[in-house]
Amino acid sequence: MRVVVAASVSALVIAAPTSAFAVDYLSADQAAKLMFPEADAFEARNVTLDAAQLQQLDAQGVRGRSASWPVRVAKRAGATLGFVVTDAVIGKVELIDYAVGIALDGNIRQVEILSYRESHGFEIRLPAWRKQFVGKGSASTLRTGDDIANISGATLSCNHVTDGVRRIVAVVALARRGGTLA
């Protein structure tokens, strides 16, 4: 069904530009460094979820969306400090690029907005909104209107970024439990 949906979406896409940034705030590398300033290296990993893991995500109420997740593993002197995952979700009609930093205890260390392109709702970039995620993990609800306050006029952006963060937290937890992400 995902393929059918993807085909429908692509039918609406009349052209794709070579670049599309209204405002870029950070690169993924800058975000990783910001989240783990003590790291001396970021190791590139690609977490691939198998069908069973995707089904587990689904059972948790998290839509897996993709089986393949590039992860930056923050290291210091060879020891793992945490993980940074970058992703993009659609706000209302445009993509929002964001990054999630996850500490070794599985809780969110930081959320950063990398690029925001919508005409409305840039407020999700404000530190006060992003701070709501800090310390929350897979045991948290991580839903707008529950433990994450919505921003009036930016409801879709809030919902979709929050859903995305919840998915990343679940994916990292799953990969760590499965041993593919140490």
């Binding site: 052209a15 993924a28 089986a67 407020e123 209107g145």
Partner: protein, 445 residues
């Protein structure tokens, strides 16, 4: 899984996978469900591999003409921590670009049943809106919406076709952008966020329909500033109202004074331009506090007398947890109406000097499951479209209208993030014949 190994898959294979996947899904309830589910998983994994490969190819293509310095500086197997050159795109973003042109839409189909005059029950495609947004380059885009009201527009039908928005937006700096064209005015809570999924109740509230014209737009230019402290500032110069359109023989001006004289950039008279400003602060998550001011002359050099129309509002919305509270107060004035009304005396609808409205609304999400969310709400509003008239002399000055008070109680049921079912009951204090039950279906994407 081994299927993640890079493997060249042509578009034909992708198409075959799509068809196979669709077929698999369609027959998922059959006796061979397990086998089909496994096949589905395998195909999904293969598709993910193809996607990953596509991204890699795009990255490689994008990186090909550029100097390899940042990557070369990074240790093998590590991400470089060198910041990108000023103005260059983040590496991740470059691989996941949004579409250049996006189709958007929203619509409302409403059922209204007056409880005392059931013969007036109506079902209506209230609005059907199609729009597109297109990016010309990384900083410039056009946003449009074309609306059909009441399903059919012809000489014999009640419908209308309207260009609701058509503006160009250019991002000047990370803080400031410039909008020019036909745009929605940043007034109240509803006007810029008027999709059915964004408000409670089948119908838009009366304050932001009768006092602030519904879907109020003007042509002009505005600067939009988004500051890091949560402040959004908007200001600009636009077209204004045309008081020459005031029809004293109809009741339109009593229903909504400004709606009856708005121009919507349809051969709009442009002699008298207006200025507006709006400030909104969202510095605390869940809280929005703001206000707006619009003012401009409105006789458009068509009459001897000049008149200024001013409309302002203050508004707030607070969404702690599952609660959602909002309030708007707005007030409009028209100057020099004594002179304008002198020629209209004897008609049923003279031009009011002032009009205002206020509402309080509360909603609570009582239940949610997956994308379903049920939110009962209650709204109390008071509005007066003719709160005062300028003095025309004994026996000639119309009496101010009585403020209408409306209580609306009902619920929104979100079916998915873009689809909502609504039901409510509205009770009118002044004109109880308008009491009604409403049902609605809305969507937005």
């Amino acid at each position: 899984m081994s299927s993640t190994r890079p493997r060249a898959l042509p578009a034909r294979a992708l198409l075959a996978a799509s068809l196979a996947l669709s077929a698999s899904t369609a027959f998922a309830q059959s006796a061979t469900e397990t086998a089909l589910a496994q096949r589905l998983d395998q195909l999904a994994a293969e598709l993910a591999a193809v996607k990953a490969q596509l991204v890699q190819l795009q990255q490689a293509q994008a990186a090909a003409p550029a100097p390899a310095a940042p990557v070369a500086q990074a240790a093998p197997g590590s991400f470089g921590t060198t910041p990108p050159a000023p103005g260059s795109a983040p590496a991740y973003s470059a691989s996941l670009l949004g579409p250049g042109t996006v189709l958007t839409s929203y619509g409302e189909i409403n059922y209204n049943r007056p409880t005392r005059q059931t013969q007036n029950t109506q079902v209506d495609v209230r609005r059907f809106v199609l729009g597109y947004q297109h990016r010309f380059d990384e900083k410039t885009k056009v946003v449009t919406e074309l609306e059909v009201e009441h399903a059919v527009s012809s000489a014999a039908d009640p419908g209308e076709v309207e260009v609701e928005q058509a503006y160009i937006e250019r991002q000047l700096t990370p803080v400031w952008s410039l909008r020019a064209g036909l745009f929605l005015m940043p007034v109240g809570l509803l006007n810029e966020n008027h999709e059915p999924t964004a408000f409670y109740g089948v119908e838009r509230n009366f304050v932001e329909t009768a006092i602030i014209p519904s879907t109020w737009r003007e042509g002009g230019a505005q600067l939009v500033g988004n500051f890091d402290n949560g402040l959004t500032v908007q200001g600009g110069i636009t077209t204004g109202f045309d008081l020459n359109k005031w029809d004293a023989t109809s009741t339109e001006g009593k229903e909504s004074p400004l709606f009856s004289i708005h121009q919507e950039l349809a051969l709009a008279k442009g002699h008298d331009l207006a200025a507006f400003g709006a400030v909104n602060w969202r510095g605390i998550p869940g809280l929005l506090v703001g206000g707006s001011l619009f003012t401009g002359q409105a006789t458009q050099a068509q009459a001897v007398d000049k008149a200024r129309i001013t409309l302002w509002d203050i508004h707030a919305r607070w969404t702690p947890g599952k609660w959602d509270f909002s309030t708007v107060y707005t007030r409009g004035t028209i100057s020099n109406t004594a002179a304008l009304n002198a020629a209209l005396v004897g008609n049923p609808t003279l031009i009011p000097k002032s009009f205002d409205g206020f509402y309080l609304q509360g909603a609570y999400k009582v239940w949610s499951f997956d994308d379903y969310a049920l939110s009962p709400f209650a709204r109390w509003e008071q509005f007066n479209t003719a709160k005062s008239y300028a003095d025309l002399g004994m026996g000639l000055t119309p009496e101010a209208a009585r403020a209408e008070r409306v209580v609306t109680m009902g619920a929104n049921l979100q079916v998915s993030q873009g689809v909502v079912l609504k039901a409510d009951y509205q009770r009118f204090r002044e004109n109880a014949d308008l009491n009604r039950v409403n049902l609605g279906l809305g969507w937005s994407f």
